[in-house]
């Protein structure tokens, strides 16, 4: 058990390191660098800028060094000093800039995850138990629509609806009234109302998929011999359903938690961007456009790290759920 965790943890650290190299390389591989962007801007503003000046900026930022030296300095500072460097664009520490916006991204991602499971598990069970009923057919139909609707379209429709009918501005986590208020029921509801649109946009496709998966898994289990034998022992239908088929069906569902997490974490910034939310989405895009290298690299790295940690957690969850998985 301990060795299993230790090994998994070691793999995770190695993967994180590789990912950091790749993140850095991706950012580096873009043509041009920040010094050129800087020069172009100055030129646009009418200033004359010499090649020497450009070289100067480049030297200041360390861009003249070979990339592995740049990488070494970058990762060293992160690991040793939790120093993610300066954003050239924002003229502020990268860590600060990211963490202003990360809570909203995480809130969207995790709310979406919770939303997907909370909706799909009971609906999937219902559909399986009442197979071919009107309810089941309705769920299937809605599911197909959900799977087929592109997120951006859903985003536009929901934005329109929420502005038009609820007078709800989409954006941020809280209305101004609750921004700095202490936690209360009202503030909680306000939070949910703000999260609703991005969560629905991001979560609909995945929810539809998970409902189908859960339905199939429960149906599969319902036909197994052990269900009949439990019934023959006198279990009531509800108790039996929850204790055996549903419990079994949760295993494959839990197994996909890792890539669901990947999906919401990589999807949250995109939704944030489409809905113009002040989360990391717009920040990320601009950092790439402006070759704000340290900021972009840090964000790619953080997204990947969240995904890797999430995958590890979902594997551990599966081990906890299913005694058939042997930890050799």
């Amino acid at each position: 058990m301990i060795t299993f965790f230790a090994r998994r943890f070691a793999y995770m650290v190695i993967t994180l390191l590789l990912v950091s190299v790749v993140s850095f390389a991706i950012v580096q591989s873009a043509p041009g660098d920040y010094a050129e962007i800087y020069a172009a801007r100055k030129a646009n503003a009418g200033a004359i800028i010499s090649q020497a000046e450009i070289e100067n900026v480049r030297r200041q930022l360390g861009l003249d060094k070979p990339w592995h030296i740049q990488y070494g300095r970058w990762i060293g500072n992160i690991v040793l000093h939790n120093d993610w460097g300066m954003s050239w664009e924002w003229k502020r520490p990268v860590g600060e800039v990211i963490w202003e916006r990360m809570p909203l991204t995480l809130a969207i991602a995790f709310s979406t995850l919770i939303f997907m499971y909370v909706v799909s598990i009971p609906v999937g069970i219902y559909s399986a138990v009442h197979r071919y009923s009107i309810g089941d057919h309705t769920v299937s139909l809605l599911g197909y629509i959900g799977l087929a609707t592109p997120n951006f379209l859903l985003a536009l429709v929901l934005m329109y609806l929420s502005q038009r009918y609820f007078g709800q501005s989409v954006g941020g986590l809280f209305s101004p009234a609750y921004e700095n208020a202490p936690w209360s029921w009202g503030k909680f509801k306000d939070l949910l109302a703000h999260l609703a649109v991005p969560v629905i946009v991001l979560g609909t496709g995945g929810t539809a998929f998970l409902i189908r998966a859960m339905r199939a898994a429960v149906l599969d289990e319902l036909n197994k011999m052990y269900v009949l034998s439990a019934k023959a022992s006198g279990l009531s239908p509800l108790k039996l359903l929850i204790r055996y088929p549903v419990r079994m069906a949760l295993n494959p569902i839990a197994a996909t938690l890792g890539w669901r997490l990947t999906y919401v974490i990589s999807g949250a910034p995109i939704v944030g961007f489409v809905l113009a939310l002040p989360d990391t989405g717009p920040l990320f895009l601009h950092s790439l456009l402006n070759q704000d290298m340290l900021l972009a690299g840090a964000m790619i790295f953080i997204y990947c790290a969240l995904t890797i940690i999430g995958t590890l957690l979902s594997d551990l969850l599966l081990v906890a759920l299913d005694p058939r998985i042997k930890l050799e």
Binding site: M225, Y226, A230, A232, S233, G234, Y244, N251, D322, R324
Partner: protein, 338 residues
């Protein structure tokens, strides 16, 4: 004829049908049998003759597309109370209270009869907890006691093991423990040894005999192995295409089979010495009719060597009784009278 028997179960003219959109297709028709306390009745027949459906219907466990369309299933309590299982319906507290408590059931597939993600102990103890409202500790203690009774070594530790850590034979023992933990008066065993190899099979049969003598429950033993019938059963009922064609004490049936199907079955069994005497093992020619296309009259007539046509194809044969030996065949009277 009122026999002075202390019965646990009386099945009277039970019929089971498949419900389809436009019609109901009868599968099991008009079967009657009874089981006395501590008696073993073997239900024998070819694959598809309706043995499993009969067993499932006794606990109202038929799947949704199947239904009991006629008859009564009377379960007698030790204090003389009688419950009609058919009247209870397939859902609700009343039938749940019977399953696992008054009747236990074991199946052919010991491999899949337990959930692979719950421990053996939890799945056995659960039955006692449902029916007797005992604490978890008490239920576990009882489960360990039963595991010991069915011959599982180190029963207390076995409680915390998972089914896949058990061999097929061990799992079937654990299934028996689960079926018997509440001390039912009737154990229904649907081909409990078919999936096991021969040595394990005879160990399980020995165990069932031992438990029957110790606990005194009746057993409905479903099999298509006449060797097992001879070893285990007091009485035997032969099923063909959803009907019981002949029934009676095992000795009578084996010594003097009357129904041509029973005779054919007995002839199909290889006997010791067959090889020396070059006796041919004769399997029954033809196959059991499809439920959607059963022959009129006696359902065995297309395969029957003693059939008298058109008589046998016109109406179901009458039933003849000689004591406890019953047979449904036109030759019944002469044969039984002889």
């Amino acid at each position: 004829m009122a026999e002075a028997r202390d019965n646990v179960l009386d099945v009277e003219t039970l019929s089971i049908a498949l419900r389809q959109d436009d019609a109901t297709v009868p599968i099991v028709e008009d079967i009657s049998f009874s089981l006395a306390r501590g008696e073993v009745l073997a239900l024998v027949g070819e694959s598809g003759s309706g043995k499993s459906l009969t067993a499932l219907s006794l606990m109202q466990l038929l799947s949704k597309e199947l239904a009991i369309t006629k008859g009564r299933i009377l379960l007698h309590a030790a204090d003389g109370g009688v419950t009609d299982i058919v009247g209870l319906g397939a859902n609700g507290r009343a039938i749940e209270a019977i399953r696992g408590r008054r009747m236990g059931m074991i199946f052919q597939e010991p491999m899949s009869s337990f959930s692979p993600i719950h421990t053996i102990g939890a799945q056995i103890a659960e039955v006692a907890m449902i029916h007797e409202k005992v604490t978890r500790e008490e239920a576990r203690r009882r489960a360990a006691e039963l595991l010991a009774k069915v011959g599982i070594p180190d029963p207390v530790r076995a409680l915390d093991r998972y089914p896949q850590e058990f061999s097929g034979g061990m799992r079937q023992r654990a299934m028996i423990a689960r079926a018997l933990i509440c001390g039912p008066g009737l154990l229904i065993a649907d081909e409990p040894t078919t999936a096991l190899d021969v040595t394990i099979q005879s160990q399980i049969l020995d165990l069932m005999r031992k438990l029957k003598n110790e606990l005194g429950m009746a057993i409905l033993f479903i099999t298509h192995d006449l060797g097992i019938v001879a070893q285990m059963a007091d009485r035997v009922a032969i099923m063909y295409s959803g009907r019981i064609v002949e029934s009676g004490p095992v000795r009578d049936i084996f010594r003097r089979p009357v129904h041509p199907y029973t005779r054919a079955l007995l002839e199909a069994v290889p006997r010791l010495g067959d090889i020396d005497r070059h006796r041919k093992i004769r399997p029954i020619a033809g196959s059991i009719p499809n439920i959607f296309d059963v022959p009129q009259g006696c359902r065995f007539h297309p395969r029957c060597p003693a059939a008298q046509l058109p008589r046998c194809a016109e109406a179901p044969p009458p039933r003849y009784d000689a004591g406890r030996h019953h047979v449904s065949c036109i030759h019944g009277a002469e044969e039984l009278g002889r």
